[in-house]
Symmetry: C2
Subunit: 195 residues, 2 copies
Protein backbone atom coordinates (compact mmCIF):
# COMPACT_ATOMS: atom_id res chain seq x y z
CA UNK A 1 0.00 0.00 0.00
CA UNK A 2 1.71 3.11 -1.24
CA UNK A 3 -0.39 5.30 1.03
CA UNK A 4 2.54 4.85 3.36
CA UNK A 5 4.11 7.76 1.51
CA UNK A 6 1.43 10.13 2.69
CA UNK A 7 1.70 8.89 6.27
CA UNK A 8 5.40 9.64 6.19
CA UNK A 9 4.70 13.02 4.67
CA UNK A 10 2.35 13.98 7.50
CA UNK A 11 4.58 12.61 10.25
CA UNK A 12 7.51 14.64 8.95
CA UNK A 13 5.51 17.77 9.63
CA UNK A 14 3.75 17.03 12.89
CA UNK A 15 3.58 14.38 15.62
CA UNK A 16 0.46 12.22 15.36
CA UNK A 17 -0.69 9.19 17.35
CA UNK A 18 -1.31 6.07 15.26
CA UNK A 19 -5.03 6.49 15.76
CA UNK A 20 -4.97 10.14 14.73
CA UNK A 21 -2.98 9.26 11.66
CA UNK A 22 -5.39 6.52 10.64
CA UNK A 23 -8.39 8.77 11.17
CA UNK A 24 -6.77 11.29 8.88
CA UNK A 25 -5.89 8.68 6.28
CA UNK A 26 -9.44 7.30 6.30
CA UNK A 27 -10.65 10.47 4.58
CA UNK A 28 -8.33 10.02 1.64
CA UNK A 29 -9.40 7.87 -1.28
CA UNK A 30 -7.29 6.47 -4.04
CA UNK A 31 -8.10 7.55 -7.56
CA UNK A 32 -6.44 6.42 -10.75
CA UNK A 33 -6.10 9.09 -13.38
CA UNK A 34 -5.18 8.03 -16.93
CA UNK A 35 -2.66 10.06 -18.87
CA UNK A 36 -4.17 13.14 -20.46
CA UNK A 37 -7.19 13.37 -18.18
CA UNK A 38 -8.05 16.74 -16.67
CA UNK A 39 -8.87 16.50 -12.98
CA UNK A 40 -9.79 20.19 -12.98
CA UNK A 41 -10.62 22.71 -15.66
CA UNK A 42 -10.64 26.48 -15.53
CA UNK A 43 -14.01 27.75 -14.33
CA UNK A 44 -14.92 24.60 -12.40
CA UNK A 45 -14.93 24.61 -8.62
CA UNK A 46 -12.13 22.49 -7.21
CA UNK A 47 -13.76 19.92 -4.99
CA UNK A 48 -10.71 17.92 -4.03
CA UNK A 49 -7.22 18.13 -2.66
CA UNK A 50 -4.95 15.45 -4.10
CA UNK A 51 -1.67 13.93 -2.98
CA UNK A 52 0.28 12.34 -5.85
CA UNK A 53 1.20 8.72 -5.18
CA UNK A 54 2.32 8.01 -8.72
CA UNK A 55 2.63 9.77 -12.03
CA UNK A 56 2.77 13.46 -12.76
CA UNK A 57 0.43 16.41 -13.19
CA UNK A 58 0.63 19.77 -14.86
CA UNK A 59 -0.97 22.78 -13.16
CA UNK A 60 -1.41 25.59 -15.66
CA UNK A 61 -3.18 28.82 -16.49
CA UNK A 62 -4.50 29.65 -19.95
CA UNK A 63 -5.47 33.08 -21.18
CA UNK A 64 -8.26 33.99 -23.57
CA UNK A 65 -5.97 33.47 -26.58
CA UNK A 66 -5.40 29.87 -25.47
CA UNK A 67 -1.82 30.59 -24.46
CA UNK A 68 -0.92 28.17 -21.71
CA UNK A 69 1.54 28.83 -18.89
CA UNK A 70 2.61 25.99 -16.64
CA UNK A 71 2.62 27.07 -13.02
CA UNK A 72 4.18 23.90 -11.68
CA UNK A 73 4.44 20.15 -12.06
CA UNK A 74 3.33 17.76 -9.35
CA UNK A 75 4.98 14.35 -9.27
CA UNK A 76 5.14 11.76 -6.49
CA UNK A 77 4.89 13.30 -3.01
CA UNK A 78 3.45 16.59 -4.27
CA UNK A 79 -0.03 18.06 -3.98
CA UNK A 80 -2.46 18.96 -6.73
CA UNK A 81 -5.38 21.32 -6.20
CA UNK A 82 -6.41 24.87 -6.89
CA UNK A 83 -6.02 26.23 -3.41
CA UNK A 84 -8.07 29.38 -3.92
CA UNK A 85 -10.87 27.49 -5.64
CA UNK A 86 -10.87 24.65 -3.11
CA UNK A 87 -10.70 26.87 -0.02
CA UNK A 88 -13.19 29.51 -1.10
CA UNK A 89 -15.30 27.39 -3.48
CA UNK A 90 -14.88 29.83 -6.31
CA UNK A 91 -14.27 29.06 -10.00
CA UNK A 92 -10.80 27.77 -10.69
CA UNK A 93 -8.32 29.93 -12.55
CA UNK A 94 -6.19 26.88 -13.34
CA UNK A 95 -6.26 23.61 -15.24
CA UNK A 96 -4.88 20.40 -13.80
CA UNK A 97 -4.04 17.55 -16.17
CA UNK A 98 -2.30 14.20 -15.77
CA UNK A 99 0.88 14.01 -17.87
CA UNK A 100 1.19 10.27 -17.22
CA UNK A 101 -0.98 7.51 -15.82
CA UNK A 102 -1.25 8.63 -12.23
CA UNK A 103 -2.63 7.73 -8.83
CA UNK A 104 -3.94 10.29 -6.37
CA UNK A 105 -4.99 10.15 -2.76
CA UNK A 106 -7.90 12.56 -2.72
CA UNK A 107 -9.92 14.27 -0.04
CA UNK A 108 -13.15 16.12 -0.79
CA UNK A 109 -13.91 19.60 0.43
CA UNK A 110 -16.59 18.24 2.80
CA UNK A 111 -14.26 15.59 4.21
CA UNK A 112 -11.52 18.15 4.63
CA UNK A 113 -13.80 20.30 6.76
CA UNK A 114 -14.83 17.22 8.73
CA UNK A 115 -11.18 16.42 9.24
CA UNK A 116 -10.47 19.88 10.63
CA UNK A 117 -13.35 19.46 13.08
CA UNK A 118 -12.58 15.89 14.13
CA UNK A 119 -8.86 16.40 14.55
CA UNK A 120 -8.15 20.07 15.20
CA UNK A 121 -4.45 19.33 15.06
CA UNK A 122 -4.82 19.05 11.29
CA UNK A 123 -5.35 22.81 11.15
CA UNK A 124 -1.77 23.08 12.35
CA UNK A 125 -0.60 20.42 9.93
CA UNK A 126 -2.01 22.19 6.91
CA UNK A 127 -0.98 25.59 8.22
CA UNK A 128 2.62 24.47 8.32
CA UNK A 129 2.37 22.92 4.84
CA UNK A 130 0.97 26.14 3.55
CA UNK A 131 3.75 28.18 5.17
CA UNK A 132 6.30 26.04 3.38
CA UNK A 133 4.46 26.64 0.14
CA UNK A 134 4.56 30.41 0.58
CA UNK A 135 8.30 30.33 1.21
CA UNK A 136 8.80 28.15 -1.88
CA UNK A 137 6.80 30.48 -4.12
CA UNK A 138 8.78 33.45 -2.87
CA UNK A 139 12.02 31.67 -3.71
CA UNK A 140 10.69 30.82 -7.16
CA UNK A 141 9.93 34.48 -7.81
CA UNK A 142 13.39 35.51 -6.67
CA UNK A 143 14.93 32.96 -9.02
CA UNK A 144 12.88 34.33 -11.88
CA UNK A 145 14.13 37.82 -11.14
CA UNK A 146 17.78 36.99 -10.56
CA UNK A 147 18.64 34.13 -12.89
CA UNK A 148 18.91 33.96 -16.69
CA UNK A 149 16.82 31.48 -18.65
CA UNK A 150 19.79 29.12 -18.88
CA UNK A 151 20.43 29.27 -15.13
CA UNK A 152 16.76 28.58 -14.45
CA UNK A 153 16.87 25.65 -16.84
CA UNK A 154 19.93 24.27 -15.05
CA UNK A 155 18.32 24.76 -11.68
CA UNK A 156 15.18 22.98 -12.75
CA UNK A 157 16.74 19.90 -14.29
CA UNK A 158 19.25 19.46 -11.48
CA UNK A 159 16.71 20.08 -8.69
CA UNK A 160 14.00 17.91 -10.24
CA UNK A 161 15.79 15.48 -12.56
CA UNK A 162 13.06 12.84 -12.29
CA UNK A 163 10.29 15.24 -13.18
CA UNK A 164 12.32 16.89 -15.93
CA UNK A 165 13.01 13.50 -17.49
CA UNK A 166 9.33 12.88 -18.16
CA UNK A 167 8.60 16.30 -19.61
CA UNK A 168 8.76 17.66 -23.13
CA UNK A 169 10.85 20.74 -23.88
CA UNK A 170 7.68 22.60 -24.57
CA UNK A 171 6.41 22.00 -21.05
CA UNK A 172 9.72 22.90 -19.45
CA UNK A 173 9.80 26.08 -21.52
CA UNK A 174 6.32 27.03 -20.38
CA UNK A 175 7.28 26.40 -16.75
CA UNK A 176 10.41 28.52 -17.08
CA UNK A 177 8.54 31.29 -18.86
CA UNK A 178 10.49 31.05 -22.13
CA UNK A 179 9.88 29.65 -25.62
CA UNK A 180 10.50 26.05 -26.62
CA UNK A 181 12.88 27.27 -29.33
CA UNK A 182 15.04 28.94 -26.75
CA UNK A 183 15.11 25.77 -24.68
CA UNK A 184 16.55 24.10 -27.78
CA UNK A 185 19.26 26.75 -27.96
CA UNK A 186 20.07 26.28 -24.27
CA UNK A 187 20.28 22.51 -24.65
CA UNK A 188 22.61 22.87 -27.61
CA UNK A 189 24.80 25.30 -25.70
CA UNK A 190 25.02 22.92 -22.76
CA UNK A 191 25.78 19.96 -25.01
CA UNK A 192 28.68 21.86 -26.56
CA UNK A 193 30.07 22.89 -23.18
CA UNK A 194 30.21 19.34 -21.88
CA UNK A 195 32.06 17.91 -24.84
Amino acid sequence: MQAELLRTYFLNIIALTPSELERIMSHYHERKVPKGEFVLRQGEICGFEGYVLEGCFKISASDAAGMEKVLYFAAQDWWVMELDSFTNQIPSKLDIQALADSVLLEISKADKEKLYKEIPKTERLFRIMSHKAVAAWQQRLIRNHTMTAEQRYDHFITTYPDIAAMLTNKLIASYLGITQEFVSVIRKRRALKKS
Copy 2:
Protein backbone atom coordinates in the same frame (compact mmCIF):
# COMPACT_ATOMS: atom_id res chain seq x y z
CA MET B 1 -6.22 53.04 18.96
CA GLN B 2 -5.42 51.90 15.44
CA ALA B 3 -5.19 48.28 16.55
CA GLU B 4 -8.82 48.23 15.48
CA LEU B 5 -7.51 47.58 11.98
CA LEU B 6 -6.04 44.26 13.02
CA ARG B 7 -9.22 43.24 14.83
CA THR B 8 -11.15 43.88 11.64
CA TYR B 9 -8.55 41.96 9.67
CA PHE B 10 -8.94 38.87 11.84
CA LEU B 11 -12.73 39.05 11.99
CA ASN B 12 -12.90 39.17 8.21
CA ILE B 13 -11.24 35.78 8.13
CA ILE B 14 -12.81 33.91 11.00
CA ALA B 15 -15.54 34.32 13.63
CA LEU B 16 -14.15 35.13 17.09
CA THR B 17 -15.86 35.94 20.37
CA PRO B 18 -14.92 39.32 21.86
CA SER B 19 -12.92 37.54 24.55
CA GLU B 20 -11.06 35.38 22.03
CA LEU B 21 -10.27 38.42 19.98
CA GLU B 22 -8.92 40.32 22.96
CA ARG B 23 -6.81 37.39 24.07
CA ILE B 24 -5.31 37.27 20.61
CA MET B 25 -4.74 41.01 20.54
CA SER B 26 -3.04 40.95 23.94
CA HIS B 27 -0.08 39.13 22.38
CA TYR B 28 0.57 41.90 19.89
CA HIS B 29 2.70 44.85 20.85
CA GLU B 30 3.04 48.15 19.13
CA ARG B 31 6.48 49.07 17.84
CA LYS B 32 7.48 52.29 16.14
CA VAL B 33 10.04 51.86 13.39
CA PRO B 34 11.77 54.98 12.05
CA LYS B 35 12.32 55.33 8.32
CA GLY B 36 15.35 53.43 7.10
CA GLU B 37 15.57 51.01 10.02
CA PHE B 38 15.99 47.34 9.26
CA VAL B 39 13.68 45.15 11.32
CA LEU B 40 15.38 42.07 9.88
CA ARG B 41 18.64 41.43 8.09
CA GLN B 42 19.71 38.49 5.97
CA GLY B 43 21.25 35.79 8.16
CA GLU B 44 19.40 36.79 11.33
CA ILE B 45 16.62 34.64 12.68
CA CYS B 46 13.23 36.30 12.33
CA GLY B 47 11.78 36.47 15.83
CA PHE B 48 8.62 38.38 15.06
CA GLU B 49 5.57 38.53 12.87
CA GLY B 50 4.44 42.10 12.24
CA TYR B 51 1.20 43.66 11.08
CA VAL B 52 1.65 47.08 9.52
CA LEU B 53 -0.50 49.75 11.17
CA GLU B 54 1.22 52.66 9.50
CA GLY B 55 4.01 53.32 7.05
CA CYS B 56 5.61 50.98 4.58
CA PHE B 57 8.24 48.26 4.46
CA LYS B 58 10.36 46.72 1.77
CA ILE B 59 11.00 42.97 1.84
CA SER B 60 13.97 42.11 -0.36
CA ALA B 61 16.66 39.59 -1.21
CA SER B 62 20.25 40.53 -1.96
CA ASP B 63 22.79 38.34 -3.68
CA ALA B 64 26.52 38.16 -3.01
CA ALA B 65 27.20 40.97 -5.47
CA GLY B 66 24.95 43.26 -3.42
CA MET B 67 22.28 43.25 -6.11
CA GLU B 68 18.96 43.78 -4.38
CA LYS B 69 15.60 42.43 -5.55
CA VAL B 70 12.41 43.62 -3.89
CA LEU B 71 10.06 40.74 -3.22
CA TYR B 72 7.17 42.87 -2.06
CA PHE B 73 6.13 46.01 -0.24
CA ALA B 74 4.06 45.93 2.93
CA ALA B 75 1.98 49.00 3.69
CA GLN B 76 -0.98 49.41 6.05
CA ASP B 77 -2.93 46.19 6.60
CA TRP B 78 -0.11 43.97 5.32
CA TRP B 79 2.22 41.60 7.13
CA VAL B 80 5.98 41.72 7.44
CA MET B 81 8.07 38.72 8.42
CA GLU B 82 10.30 36.10 6.89
CA LEU B 83 7.92 33.18 7.06
CA ASP B 84 10.50 30.45 6.58
CA SER B 85 12.87 31.99 9.12
CA PHE B 86 10.12 32.69 11.67
CA THR B 87 8.44 29.31 11.37
CA ASN B 88 11.54 27.14 11.31
CA GLN B 89 13.91 29.44 13.22
CA ILE B 90 16.50 29.35 10.49
CA PRO B 91 18.61 32.24 9.16
CA SER B 92 16.63 34.68 7.08
CA LYS B 93 17.19 34.90 3.34
CA LEU B 94 15.55 38.31 3.26
CA ASP B 95 15.98 41.87 4.50
CA ILE B 96 13.09 43.91 5.85
CA GLN B 97 13.47 47.67 6.01
CA ALA B 98 11.09 50.55 6.80
CA LEU B 99 10.67 52.88 3.81
CA ALA B 100 8.87 55.43 5.96
CA ASP B 101 8.28 56.06 9.64
CA SER B 102 6.13 53.09 10.50
CA VAL B 103 4.18 51.39 13.24
CA LEU B 104 3.94 47.64 13.62
CA LEU B 105 1.85 45.35 15.77
CA GLU B 106 4.30 42.59 16.54
CA ILE B 107 4.07 39.13 18.01
CA SER B 108 7.13 37.16 19.06
CA LYS B 109 7.78 33.55 18.07
CA ALA B 110 7.22 32.41 21.67
CA ASP B 111 3.96 34.34 21.97
CA LYS B 112 2.79 33.03 18.64
CA GLU B 113 3.25 29.46 19.85
CA LYS B 114 1.46 30.36 23.09
CA LEU B 115 -1.35 31.81 21.04
CA TYR B 116 -1.74 28.61 19.03
CA LYS B 117 -1.95 26.63 22.28
CA GLU B 118 -4.28 28.98 24.13
CA ILE B 119 -6.66 29.51 21.24
CA PRO B 120 -6.44 26.57 18.85
CA LYS B 121 -8.79 28.37 16.51
CA THR B 122 -5.88 30.63 15.58
CA GLU B 123 -4.30 27.70 13.76
CA ARG B 124 -7.23 27.91 11.40
CA LEU B 125 -6.98 31.68 11.20
CA PHE B 126 -3.36 31.63 10.13
CA ARG B 127 -3.87 28.63 7.89
CA ILE B 128 -6.46 30.53 5.92
CA MET B 129 -4.24 33.61 5.76
CA SER B 130 -1.45 31.46 4.46
CA HIS B 131 -3.68 29.88 1.82
CA LYS B 132 -4.55 33.32 0.53
CA ALA B 133 -0.87 34.12 0.38
CA VAL B 134 -0.07 31.04 -1.71
CA ALA B 135 -2.81 31.91 -4.18
CA ALA B 136 -1.52 35.48 -4.39
CA TRP B 137 2.06 34.37 -5.07
CA GLN B 138 0.87 32.02 -7.79
CA GLN B 139 -1.00 34.84 -9.46
CA ARG B 140 2.07 37.06 -9.21
CA LEU B 141 4.13 34.43 -10.99
CA ILE B 142 1.55 34.05 -13.72
CA ARG B 143 1.53 37.81 -14.23
CA ASN B 144 5.31 37.78 -14.54
CA HIS B 145 5.09 35.09 -17.20
CA THR B 146 2.22 36.53 -19.21
CA MET B 147 2.52 40.29 -19.01
CA THR B 148 5.08 42.67 -20.49
CA ALA B 149 7.02 45.03 -18.23
CA GLU B 150 4.68 47.87 -19.15
CA GLN B 151 1.59 45.81 -18.36
CA ARG B 152 3.08 44.81 -15.02
CA TYR B 153 3.87 48.45 -14.27
CA ASP B 154 0.28 49.43 -15.09
CA HIS B 155 -1.07 46.62 -12.98
CA PHE B 156 1.06 47.59 -10.01
CA ILE B 157 0.30 51.29 -9.96
CA THR B 158 -3.41 50.81 -10.54
CA THR B 159 -3.73 47.96 -8.02
CA TYR B 160 -1.63 49.65 -5.34
CA PRO B 161 -1.76 53.38 -6.10
CA ASP B 162 -1.13 54.38 -2.48
CA ILE B 163 1.93 52.19 -2.14
CA ALA B 164 3.26 53.16 -5.57
CA ALA B 165 2.95 56.83 -4.68
CA MET B 166 5.45 56.53 -1.87
CA LEU B 167 8.04 54.53 -3.82
CA THR B 168 10.95 55.57 -6.00
CA ASN B 169 11.18 54.32 -9.58
CA LYS B 170 14.18 52.30 -8.54
CA LEU B 171 12.15 50.36 -6.00
CA ILE B 172 9.26 49.81 -8.38
CA ALA B 173 11.72 48.59 -11.02
CA SER B 174 13.25 46.13 -8.58
CA TYR B 175 9.81 44.84 -7.62
CA LEU B 176 8.82 44.40 -11.26
CA GLY B 177 12.12 42.72 -12.13
CA ILE B 178 13.27 45.37 -14.60
CA THR B 179 15.78 48.24 -14.61
CA GLN B 180 15.04 51.73 -13.37
CA GLU B 181 15.98 53.09 -16.79
CA PHE B 182 13.27 51.03 -18.41
CA VAL B 183 10.74 52.29 -15.88
CA SER B 184 11.65 55.76 -17.11
CA VAL B 185 10.96 54.69 -20.67
CA ILE B 186 7.61 53.21 -19.66
CA ARG B 187 6.62 56.36 -17.79
CA LYS B 188 7.49 58.51 -20.79
CA ARG B 189 5.51 56.24 -23.10
CA ARG B 190 2.47 56.44 -20.81
CA ALA B 191 2.77 60.22 -20.49
CA LEU B 192 2.74 60.55 -24.28
CA LYS B 193 -0.28 58.26 -24.68
CA LYS B 194 -2.40 60.27 -22.26
CA SER B 195 -1.79 63.64 -23.89
